[in-house]
């Protein structure tokens, strides 16, 4: 909220500081551009080296120069959709609980706890996935291994929860109290008010929550790499959730350490990264635009 300044004698130090601060503000744009540039720089040579039909193929065998990205893309899609299918209802319900139902002392426990969930390192979640969740999955499903897409889905769902909860909660919070009072005045119960008035009014914010949750889930790396089994096969058919799956992120993380710099395989991994960058860019752009439409200028609070 800048206040118009009365012109004064310009102090050159002040001038310098203000220019520096302006530069720092602009640096965010520069970083996005530089990041895009370097992903393109390292990735694009592969588009020359590998024919497009190969890249769009259904098999990923880098040792035999077969770089079909479809199994990786579908793998990412499978675990992301699965995770959101679980964490959306759970997250919105929790947000309703925090925002509309819980007494304030419960709220004071729940809100920091959600922050703690967000703070648990993904590698710790992956470790717990290997130790505790995957044996359970194997037992219940009867699959030969517990390192399956389902295991990844369960853990990713939990990791996407904090994002969905906090943004959905903000969305509920932004619904004016006058809506609730009007509903009560028409003798609606609290639940009718939440279900028929507050939730519909908060819908754009909840859509944003889902989008950022998707972004969170699709970009998660370590957990998926540790628990999802990493088999680069097309995840098709109903039992795909009970088979190992490999995502785009896990492929980069698992293989980048071992490839020769400048090799075709190296360039293709950067293309996978570029694809992830573009996907999350579009998701966040869409989410940001809905935020801007709601409240001009104040997208910042949805980040923290």
């Amino acid at each position: 909220m800048p206040i118009p300044e009365v012109p004064k004698d310009v102090d050159w130090r002040e001038f310098f500081v203000e220019q520096l601060i302006r530069l720092m503000g602009v640096s965010a744009i520069a970083l996005v551009l530089v990041m895009f540039l370097f992903l393109v720089r390292e990735g694009v040579p592969s588009l020359v080296e590998v024919p497009l039909s190969n890249l769009l193929g259904q098999r990923w065998y880098p040792t035999f120069e077969i770089y079909g990205l479809m199994p990786l893309i579908l793998g990412s899609l499978l675990v992301t959709v699965g995770a959101i299918a679980i964490s959306l209802p759970l997250g919105v319900a929790t947000a309703i609980f925090i925002g509309e139902i819980a007494p304030s002392w419960v709220r004071e426990i729940l809100k920091p706890s959600v922050e703690v969930i967000a703070g648990i390192p993904s590698v710790v979640i992956g470790f717990i996935g290997i130790q505790l969740v995957s044996p359970l999955v194997r037992q219940f499903s009867g699959a030969p291994t517990g390192l399956t897409a389902l295991t990844g889905v369960l853990l990713l769902a939990y990791m996407a929860l904090p994002t969905i909860i906090s943004i959905a909660e903000d969305a509920l919070d932004a619904v004016p109290d006058s809506y609730r009072h009007a509903a009560f005045a028409l003798s609606a119960t609290e639940w009718q008010t939440v279900w028929r008035v507050v939730l519909p009014a908060a819908r754009p914010g909840i859509v944003t929550a889902v989008m950022l949750g998707v972004g969170r889930a699709i970009g998660e790396t370590m957990t998926v790499m540790m628990v999802a089994g990493n088999a680069a096969r097309m995840p098709l058919g109903l039992d795909a959730f009970l088979r190992p799956v490999r995502t785009m992120t896990a492929t980069i993380a698992a293989e980048m350490g071992e490839v020769a710099r400048g090799s075709t395989h190296y360039h293709v991994l950067f293309v996978v990264g570029l694809a992830l960058f573009i996907i999350t860019f579009l998701i966040n752009l869409a989410a940001a635009l809905t935020i801007f439409r709601q409240q001009r200028g104040g997208g910042g609070r949805f980040l923290a």
Binding site: I21, I128, L132, G215, M226, I252, M256
Partner: protein
Amino acid sequence: MRIPRYTAQKVAFGIITVAAVSVLIPLVLVIGYILVQGIGAISWEFITAMPRGGMREGGIFPALIGTIWLTLGAGVTSIPLGVGAGVYLAEYAPDNWFTRTIRLAIINLAGVPSVVYGLFGLGLFVIFLRFGMSILAGSLTLGIMTLPVVISTTEQALTTVPQSFRVVNASLGGTTWQGVRKVILPQALPGIMTGVVLGLERAAGETAPILFTVAAFFLPRLPHSVFDQTMALPYHLFVISTQVPGMPIKIQYGTALVLLVFVLTMNLLATLIRRYYRRRRQW
């Protein structure tokens, strides 16, 4: 038959409460289980000794020190730049398309997957700027990843400082910068600190951005300079839980516990700063 509406409310609220509780239970279970399983591994030697015997014996000292270095490095990178950008957005930026583009860029930076930050760090710092795999390259990568959090929490903290403070500053003949430096920033400092600590907490626990920029599989010595590679706790946990066969389970849980305590301490610190200053605040 219509369900009586207060019955419907009871059922719905019941389901919602169960959902909220079921979000909490895994958190408590996970932390409790790691604590119980890992506490037996914790000893003075475990914290302060080099790993031995293919990491199956000894301690995690170099990984712990490495993570401390990287967290500090991420702070040094992200705090000045992030606070500066936050000050710009809150105190200087006019409301126009360019400012909105900056905000879009920040939102997008916040959403970029951590492993893509790793690729970026590899391409820019390790290869292009020839830092090699080093603490410098890792810190810069983690710092840039933390940047959006620092910027947005700084902006948020600044905008909660009442407008009257700015008006009074201007009425006393203070320039914008004088007002920011002497009035607004000190008032917003606790909020900024909370955000910075939460951002660095995330950086401390990240693995994917350091995979190709700094993390060493096994390096049983302390780094001598910022151009050295180092071990780091999150990567170490990944290595011993997936890459080393026959790893004693106790050491795995012990490492997970140390990492969890490291990260949760930062989380607690952030919460305490926020609580303490909220109570002391005059406005």
